[in-house]
């Protein structure tokens, strides 16, 4: 009985492996054909030789790549200190919007206004207004640093989005969980901290991953107010060498970071979907 079942699963697995191999071969062939077409057709376009020289110049890439990597380190640093601030502020705003007591109405209004404003304005505008506006007050060093105010602009904008995601996570926890916690004698705060938030946060991890990926890219917007991060550095090289290849190099560096993280976020999302079923 047992052994026949094993045999059957073995046969099924063999069959499915064969089918997978077949579809992999078909996919490989069609991809190769598409690539060949691109490889043959694109160079036939009238401007290709010029584009190739100014965007895909191997020598320029090799020369500028190490410096681009150095500049990318600045992106990573700005990202690294912004992300925790965003997580904390986002959570606080979400909690503020979720308060029940009438006395805390101003807090709810503040939370709602905050999210409306910072989700309603393009990030680049917020970066400009805060990044130029506040140092424009003539503050002494180091309080005129674009790092501080650029970071603030990113933190404010992203907190608004992150807060909304946390809030949807809090709402996704079944109402009975709160009732169960309260019925045990826990206070509202304890119910939130020990019962609702841990579940809410877990539910929104994939969505927040996507916010992190977006943030990693938007750090480049700070280049407009001063910091020489990777985009700005690529711009400097472009002017120096009259060649666009550094931008392509910068894009490649971004992709190396963002593609795996996007894949990972998708994987988490899919796993969560399966768990829900």
């Amino acid at each position: 009985m047992r052994s026949t079942r094993y045999k059957k699963t073995n046969r099924r697995q063999a069959y499915e492996a064969k089918r997978r191999r077949r579809s992999n071969i078909i996919a490989a062939i069609s991809t190769a054909i598409a690539a060949a077409f691109l490889y043959i057709l694109v160079p036939l376009t009238p401007g290709w030789s010029k584009v190739k020289l100014s965007f895909f110049n191997w020598d320029v890439l090799v020369k500028t790549f190490p410096k681009l990597l150095d500049a990318f380190l600045l992106n990573v640093m700005i990202f690294a200190w912004s992300a925790p601030l965003i997580a904390i502020l986002g959570l606080l705003i979400a909690l503020a919007r979720n308060t029940q007591s009438p006395a805390l109405f101003p807090l709810r209004i503040f939370g709602a206004t905050f999210t409306d404003v910072f989700r309603g304005v393009p990030v680049i505008l917020t970066v400009y207004l805060i990044g130029f506006g506040i140092p424009g007050l003539g503050l002494p060093r180091p309080w005129n640093s674009p790092y501080i105010w650029g970071t603030l602009a990113l933190v404010l904008t992203y907190s608004a989005y992150v807060a909304e995601i946390f809030r949807s996570g809090i709402e996704s926890v079944h109402k009975s969980q709160r009732a169960a916690a309260l019925s045990l004698g826990l206070s509202e705060r304890q119910a939130m901290r020990d019962v609702i938030l841990p579940q809410a946060i877990r539910n929104v991890v994939p969505s927040q991953m996507n916010m992190l990926i977006a943030l990693q890219k938007d750090v480049s917007l700070l280049s407009f107010i001063g910091p020489v991060e990777i985009f700005r550095q690529a711009g400097v090289f472009k002017s120096l060498m009259a060649n666009f290849t550094p931008y392509v190099g910068a894009a490649l560096i971004f992709l190396v970071v963002t593609i795996p993280s996007t894949r990972y976020a998708d994987y988490l999302m899919a796993r969560q979907m399966r768990a829900r079923e």
């Binding site: 009732a179 169960a180 019925s183 020990d194 019962v195 579940q199």
Partner: protein
């Protein structure tokens, strides 16, 4: 002598719909009271009011003769004396069964894990859950989950337990193990109020049965009276359908 729990003219409405309409009920220490009635009759609402999960508009809820429904009365104090188990989604899915049961004693009573663990482990043993303590809710059957939920409520050493259709979401073969736990509690002298669709159980185990309709207690009495000689037409027709 005072009743353990006494409801006087308890009235609660959501907007225009009155879900508890002048409920009067006396529950003696150690009694098991079963609330029966069609879905929407107001059984859950009544239990939620007793546990102060809902504010009431009129009436009194006396626990040991003290009105706990007066505005300003600390609901947390009351809830740690009255345990409640719901139909479903009781357990906290991110904690093991043991942590579920230890949370309230730790947070509300300020005990340490070490202080309460022996007592709570004993509860798990007593209710046949010794080998389930370290599992997460999603690793437990529906019946085991409900039993853990009962253990968790008992961990607060409540004086009264409220049960809201705790077997309604279970597969039929799992209902028995949960009802057995209720019988154990009754034998230990726990005061209990339960909303239930298990008519056979109510008939066998209840001291008092209340038939609710449209937020009112239409008829109450010992099970022999309610099930064998109901006086009201509404009770008769409900039972005719429920016992079919």
């Amino acid at each position: 002598m005072n009743a353990k729990l006494q409801l006087k003219n308890l009235t609660k409405s959501y907007g225009k719909t009155t879900v508890c309409n002048g409920i009067d009920l006396e529950i003696e220490q150690g009694q098991m009271v079963c609330l029966i009635g069609a879905s929407g009759a107001g059984k859950s609402s009544l239990l939620r009011c007793i546990n102060l999960l809902e504010d009431i508009e009129e009436g009194e809820i006396l626990l040991d003769g003290v009105d706990i429904s007066t505005p300003g009365f600390d609901p947390q104090k009351v809830r740690s004396r009255i345990g409640m188990v719901f139909q479903s989604f009781n357990l906290f899915p991110h904690m093991t069964a043991l942590d579920n049961a230890m949370l309230a004693p730790r947070r509300v009573l300020g005990k340490t894990r070490a202080q309460i663990r022996p007592e709570i482990e004993e509860l798990f043993h007593k209710f046949g859950l010794a080998d389930r303590m370290h599992q997460f809710p999603n690793q437990l059957s529906g019946g085991q989950q409900q039993r853990v939920a009962i253990v968790r409520a008992l961990a607060m050493r409540p004086e009264v337990m409220l049960f809201d259709e705790i077997t309604s979401a279970l597969d039929p073969q799992l209902v028995g193990e949960v009802l057995d736990v209720l019988l154990m509690l009754k034998n230990q002298g726990m005061t209990m109020v339960l909303a239930t669709h298990e008519m056979a159980f109510a008939r066998e185990a209840a001291d008092v049965v209340c038939f609710l309709k449209d937020g009112q207690i239409v008829e109450q009495g010992p099970p022999s009276q309610i099930f064998e000689a109901p006086k009201q037409n509404a009770t008769q027709s409900f039972l005719a359908r429920a016992l079919k």
